[in-house]
């Protein structure tokens, strides 16, 4: 993971990230179109306070954050823009620890679809 994302995570949560298998990140290996990349983050970690999504190759890596209440199950989805092939990072914040998962998404530039 890049220091840029480490920094962004540090700024948001005040704690350094640690990679964890408990964070389930679902993104395509190859994006259909960088304009709309479906992404889902879920975890079995309890008492999740926040989930955030980062795109390494974007000028501002932080794409979105989700603040969770006790009513929320830790499973969120959205769609993000990606300018080029890069790592996508999901961070889950619970009990003073930031857990992360990383996956590369290949972005090919569109031509003719149909």
């Amino acid at each position: 993971m890049s220091t840029e994302i480490d920094k962004a995570i540090g700024e948001l949560y005040g704690h350094p990230p640690q990679a964890s298998d408990l964070v389930k990140l679902k993104v395509p290996d190859i994006a259909e179109n960088g304009a709309v990349v479906p992404i889902s983050v879920s975890t079995d970690i309890e008492n999740v306070e926040s989930i955030s999504i980062y795109v390494e190759g974007n000028p501002n890596p932080l794409a979105a954050t989700f603040e969770l209440s006790p009513y929320i199950v830790a499973a969120v989805s959205t769609r993000i823009k990606m300018g080029k092939t890069s790592n996508v990072v999901a961070a889950v914040y619970s009990g003073g620890t930031v857990y992360t998962a990383t996956q590369e998404v290949k972005v090919t530039i569109g031509g003719c679809g149909g």
Partner: protein, 102 residues
């Protein structure tokens, strides 16, 4: 109301999905005619509420796709309950919508 919402009870959880009409301009694109940068214009915050309580809050940056889609799951609401949504963008323009749990 431009926020479209859907809420479906599946087992014990309500799957909530919402779609907001918004250009989500990154601030990086250049206007082909004028050569000037198109200023960033995007939703900054989306809030979901149930029975007057805020249950969900999301902060969005310009890297979220045009016409943002968000989905989350709630524990608690039952069929017939209303989940309401509101959003605001970086120009302060507000939007809202609601979905009845099915």
């Amino acid at each position: 109301m431009a926020i479209k919402g859907k809420a479906k009870l599946r087992g014990e959880k309500v799957q909530v999905k919402l779609l907001i009409k918004h250009v989500m301009e990154t601030g990086l694109r250049v206007d082909a005619e004028t050569g000037n940068k198109i200023p960033a214009y995007h939703i900054t915050e989306v809030v979901g509420s149930w029975e007057g309580k805020e249950v969900f809050r999301s902060n969005l940056g310009p890297a979220v796709s045009k016409n943002p889609y968000l989905s989350f799951q709630l524990k608690g609401p039952s069929v017939g309950d209303t989940i309401s949504f509101s959003s605001v963008d970086n120009k302060g323009i507000k939007d809202s919508g609601a979905a009845v749990v099915k």
